[in-house]
């Protein structure tokens, strides 16, 4: 049996024929195995869904009770038989509940890592290395220019700016699932104990994080707060909101954006960002290459992102590597739905 007989890319996503399921399918399928709750990976309308409890909860929050025909929760390390395969879930360190899916069939083990990062994150279980024969890696930041550094230093930058401009509001764009909570947790770790304000779109998911025992300190909705009262405060908002009408409620806002993309100046400038914060929930170049090496896999499949550079790197290290042409995955940002009630206020 060849690896591509176990998992192969089809129009609806990564298909496991011998197991009878798809991983992170982009179209409705009968049985879906979902790595994490971001909307480009976790979609509604599947027959049966297998995922971690957190991922299932997040899907329920986003899509409502009837997001799938049936659901089954699986914990990290737990093994489950699906068709001729056995499937285990392992922490991916990307966001709360995110998992790598290891699929073993006969004597071949393939790990579909979903989105992952090997950097520390106070809001989720750390990435676990899973030795395998074939490693499917993302390549969101698959260029050697992406080196993310220590997220704590970026948060220091933010706090220094708040101290320098106490009469202005600081508006931090961050994806509402994962990044926002990580930034808040990092601010708390840095000793910032003032209330942190939230855009309406962040409230539900952030409260969910708190209900899972993640300490985020005092959080307040920004809606209804007087403009003057927002001077010297920090507000978290979805990236799309930080350049829109919504920002007019803040006194002379400093616009920050917490993202790995902020490493590249042109990206920050295009978005009109004044304070780029290089904080990423994806592995950077060093993380990707170190992880690939450490899995011991002889074959690497590279998906969504800068495949070319990573495939080239693998080949230069004597590894078999190919891009997996999967469509429909990308930056969470592109798929984040605008909020009707906040957008044009």
């Amino acid at each position: 049996m060849r690896p591509q007989d176990i998992l192969m890319p089809v129009a609806s996503g990564l298909c496991c024929k011998p197991g009878g399921f798809h991983i992170d399918p982009v179209r409705p399928v009968e049985r879906a195995v979902i790595t994490h709750g971001h909307s480009d990976h976790a979609r509604a309308g599947h027959g049966a869904v297998l995922a971690t409890q957190e991922t299932l909860d997040m899907m329920r929050l986003r899509y409502g009770e009837n997001f799938a025909g049936s659901t089954q929760a699986i914990s990290y390390g737990e093994e489950i038989r699906l068709g001729e395969t056995s499937v285990t879930f392992h922490p991916a360190g990307h966001v709360l509940g995110s998992a790598q899916v290891a699929v073993t069939c006969k004597d071949i083990c393939i790990v579909a890592s979903g989105d992952y990062k090997d950097a520390p994150d106070p809001t989720c279980t750390p990435f676990e290395l899973v030795p395998c024969d074939v490693f499917i890696t993302e390549a969101t930041f698959g260029l050697p220019v992406f080196r993310h550094g220590d997220a704590a230093d970026e948060v220091k930058k933010l706090l220094a700016s708040v101290a320098l401009f106490p009469e202005r509001a600081h508006l931090v764009g961050a994806y509402s699932l994962g990044k926002a909570q990580r930034v808040i947790a990092l601010l708390r770790q840095a000793g910032y104990d003032a209330p942190i304000y939230l855009h309406g779109a962040m409230e539900k998911i952030t409260h969910y994080y708190q209900s899972r025992g993640i300490e985020l300190g005092e959080l307040r909705p920004v809606k209804g707060v007087k403009k003057a009262a927002l001077a010297g405060t920090i507000t978290l908002a979805p990236p799309s909101a930080t350049s829109d009408l919504w920002t007019r409620r803040f006194p002379d806002p400093v616009t920050a954006f917490a993202s790995g993309w902020m490493r590249v100046r042109a990206r920050a400038r295009q978005r009109g960002i004044e304070l780029p914060l290089v904080i990423s929930d994806h592995a950077d170049w060093d993380g990707l290459t170190a992880t690939i090496t450490a899995t011991g896999a002889g074959e690497i499949w590279v998906t969504h992102g800068q495949e070319d550079a990573l495939v080239h790197w693998c080949q230069s290290k004597g590894l078999r590597a190919q891009p997996l042409d999967l469509v429909g995955y990308g930056d969470e940002e592109e798929t984040e739905a605008p909020l009707a009630d906040e957008a044009e206020a």
Binding site: L143, P144, V145, F146, R147, G149, L164, F165, S243, D244, L245, W246, T247, R248, D252, T255, R263, V264, R265, A266, A268, R269, Q270, G272, I273, E274, L275, P276, Q306, D308, A309, H312, W313, S316
Partner: protein
């Protein structure tokens, strides 16, 4: 170096002037001598060393990285220094020993004396020692491409703020100072005496005028004012002084204090009497003042060829006298300075320097008539080069900046066209949530009938209330989105007509329409006008013909 890099990094993203000032002043407060002095030198463009060529940077990165990975990265980032800064792999040795990163002082002083052959090795060492931002700043510095939107003036103002001093004082002493400005910082921090400018031909901060509005006239008495033409050239300060050996040093400064003597060597021999003239730089041909478009042929030239000098003969028209030999005249009333100026120009007796005539008037009505028709009010053949009139209080001393109620400028009515809003783009900083940059077009005959062709871009001229209205219109009438740019509906009967005011036109191969406007701004919103009634390109072309004939003459 890392701290300086952090400052540059932050400045590169900060759009607001006051916030930039605070960032720079904060840096000066936090960082000691001599690093901050070299930072001030870097920001004011006062550092001089041989710059490294991009090819050298390419060789360095090629020796450390895979060419395919570099190629893909460079493609993605689009900027050589930034790509190298981000992907630079530290040498194993360096990571091990962890040598401290170089200070800015170390970088600047080393670069000054370093031989060409030693540069690559030295750069490599520094790149190993610095972080990403540090490497980026270093590469920008050594390639001489430190473009971060900071003027020398802004950097000096930030330094002055460190000691709550007047920026003009810093400007005055500046020509006598040199990096790392220890004396200056000692004074700013109250540890030392005020530095004295020993420059024989120093710049004096210029006095500027307010634009006069109709409602400003009522309380003004015509008898208190002297009027003169406002020439459409470049405001300059021409200074000549004697050094300690008695030799004359002559310098030409722009209104911001930039030394532009090198661009106008043909004027220097005429500046032979010690003194400081405030005047306008013009091109004169056979005694006639040429338009600004003609003068523009002499601006921003790297080489000033004899041919250029001959075809575009430079001229200084004098408005004011700030210094006469060693005497500072700035405290004197304008009327008295004007008398001194007349004497000075007569004494100088040079064909390249003349006096800007005053415009006699007894009432505001008379001045209104003169402004409307400068040709018959004394400007004669030069009327086309008159941009308006200046009103100066007879008793006004020469004050730096834009003091209230002393000088007024009253420009002639600008050119006006009605154009159609075509595209809108988000602004920056405070305006980042508004569509505040507008591309507008006029009609021209196309293959399939009349079509709009873009003729310019404007991002001011409207009131805050009008900005809100246009912003709303843009959001409701977007036909397509391209990143930050929105296409706004522009058809014969659907769209927004903007009345655009501008100062002049130029032929421009870079624009599809073939014309470029000078100083365009939105003067009125024509909600009442259907787009089909907006102006046509032919109207602009007619205006162009008259100007073009002049440049080629």
């Amino acid at each position: 170096m890392n701290r300086f890099a952090e400052l540059l990094d932050r400045l590169a993203y900060e759009p607001g002037r006051n916030n930039k000032l605070r960032l720079i002043t904060g840096y000066f407060r936090e960082v000691g001598d001599p690093d901050r002095g070299y930072a001030l030198a870097a920001l004011t463009g006062a550092l001089s060393f041989k710059h490294a060529k991009p090819a050298l940077i390419r060789d360095l990165i090629a020796s450390r990285t895979d060419p395919v990975l570099f190629g893909l990265s460079y493609d993605y980032v689009g900027d050589l220094s930034e790509t190298v800064a981000l992907m630079w792999p530290k040498a194993a040795m360096a990571a091990h020993n962890n040598p401290p990163p170089p200070t800015l002082t170390e970088v600047v002083t080393t670069l000054r004396t370093l031989g060409k052959t030693e540069l690559p090795k030295q750069l490599e060492r520094w790149l190993d020692e610095l972080d990403e931002t540090g490497r980026w700043a270093l590469l920008k510095l050594v390639t001489g491409a430190l473009r971060i939107g900071i003027s020398a003036r802004l950097a000096k103002t930030a330094a002055a703020a460190l000691g709550d001093k007047d920026p003009h004082d810093v400007e005055l002493m500046w020509p006598g100072l040199a990096p790392p400005y220890l004396e200056l910082f000692a004074w700013l921090e109250g540890r030392g005496d005020k530095p004295v400018n020993r420059d024989p031909a120093p710049f004096r901060p210029v006095m500027l005028a307010h634009a006069i509005e109709d409602t400003d006239f009522a309380p003004l008495d015509p008898a208190d004012y002297i009027a003169e033409w406002k020439w459409d050239g470049i405001r300059v300060q021409a200074v000549a002084g004697r050094d300690e050996h008695g030799h004359i040093t002559a310098r030409l400064y722009s209104r911001t204090g930039e030394d532009i003597t090198g661009s106008f060597p043909d004027l220097v021999p005429s500046l032979r009497l010690p003194g400081a003239i405030d005047g306008e730089l013009l091109i004169l041909r056979e005694g006639r003042v040429q338009s600004f478009n003609v003068l523009q042929q002499r601006l921003n030239r790297k080489v000033v060829s004899p041919k250029l000098i001959k075809e575009f003969p430079i001229h200084l028209r004098a408005y004011d006298l700030l210094g006469d030999d060693a005497n500072d005249l700035r405290e004197l009333p304008f009327a008295e300075r004007r008398e001194r100026l007349e004497t000075f120009i007569k004494q100088l007796d040079d064909p390249r320097i003349d006096l800007s005539p005053t415009v006699p008037f007894a009432s505001w009505e008379a001045l209104t008539a003169a402004r409307a028709d400068p040709a018959s009010a004394g400007a004669g053949d030069d009327a086309d080069a008159v941009e308006g009139v200046m009103l100066k209080r007879r008793d006004a001393p020469y004050l730096p900046g834009r003091p209230k109620g002393q000088w007024w400028k009253w420009k002639r009515d600008p050119h006006i066209i009605d154009a159609v809003l075509m595209y809108a783009q988000r602004g920056h900083g405070k305006r980042s949530s508004f569509y505040s940059d507008y591309t507008f077009g006029v009609w021209t005959a196309g293959a399939g009938g009349d079509e709009l062709v873009p003729v310019g871009k404007a991002y001011f001229g409207f009131t805050d209330e009008e900005l809100l209205q246009i912003d709303r219109f843009v959001r409701r009438n977007t036909t397509e989105k391209f990143g930050p740019v929105r296409h706004v509906v522009h058809e014969g009967d659907k769209g927004l007509v903007l009345e655009v005011a501008f100062e002049g036109l130029q032929r421009s191969p870079r624009h599809k329409s073939g014309v470029a406007m000078r100083f365009p701004r939105i003067s009125r919103l024509r909600w009442d006008k259907p787009p089909r009634e907006a102006d046509r390109l032919e109207t602009l072309e007619k205006m162009l013909k008259a100007e073009a004939a002049e440049i080629e003459a």
